[in-house]
């Protein structure tokens, strides 16, 4: 029983990521999509927020959205995946929550 948390809004202008991180259990996963991928950058503000995640929480960012935005130097805790992996993640988890 684990949950996939899908975060689609910018962490600089929305509390969606914060809510997701605080609600996630350690065997859950976070998937950043759309403007949510900005949370994948190496920045002090993001590190502080990510520290709220339960230890061991897996973090992913959708490649199509990362590439569209030309984000480079993603933090190493986050794995870039494509839509087919997105589908796999949905299947591997019992349910999903979309945080907008």
């Amino acid at each position: 029983m684990s949950t996939l948390h899908i975060v689609s809004t910018s962490p600089f202008d929305s509390n969606a990521l914060l809510s997701a991180l605080k609600t996630a259990s350690q065997d859950d996963a976070i998937l950043l999509i759309q403007n949510g991928v900005y949370a994948a950058i190496e920045a002090p503000h993001m590190s502080v927020m990510m520290a709220l995640a339960p230890s061991g929480l897996r973090m992913y960012a959708l490649a199509e959205d990362v590439d569209a935005r030309a984000l480079h130097g993603l933090t190493q805790h986050i794995t870039k995946i494509g839509y087919s992996d997105f589908v796999t993640l949905v299947c591997e988890h019992h349910n999903s929550v979309s945080w907008n």
């Binding site: 029983m1 684990s2 949950t3 809510s19 605080k22 609600t23 996630a24 859950d28 999903s96 929550v97």
Partner: protein
């Protein structure tokens, strides 16, 4: 029967999300599913007593919260942390709710079949 959990996260009048979430809760109850209705983040503002939206041309959509019990929606929660941040207590709310902690919310989410955050 499935367990459908709704996370109401937006304030009541600035957007249509609160009403959209409530309508989903009521539809789920009509189908006699197990419903959890959780108010969190700005969603806890939906629970506040005394809304008077006539001045902004809106209907008091949240008055329907009173009817939840009639629909058999009995598992109504508010995230304690969200209430506290907004200086709200049970006394400010128009219906009784169970206060829940982050850990309880996490468990509720994990044990649901479908979770919808609006």
């Amino acid at each position: 029967m499935k367990t459908l959990t709704f996370l109401a996260r937006q304030a009541p009048f600035g957007s249509s999300s609160a009403k959209a979430c409530l309508d989903m809760v009521l539809a789920s109850a009509v189908f006699e599913q197990q419903v959890n209705y959780v108010f969190m983040d700005d969603g806890v503002w939906q629970l506040v007593r005394g809304h008077a939206p006539e001045g902004i041309g809106a209907k008091n959509v949240m008055a329907a919260l009173q009817a939840l019990e009639l629909y058999g929606v009995e598992h109504i929660y508010a995230l304690e942390e969200s209430l506290t941040e907004r200086q709200l207590t049970q006394a400010h709310l128009q219906i009784p709710v169970r206060l829940c902690s982050r850990a309880e919310l996490s468990a509720l989410v994990q044990s649901s079949d479908v979770v919808t955050a609006l």
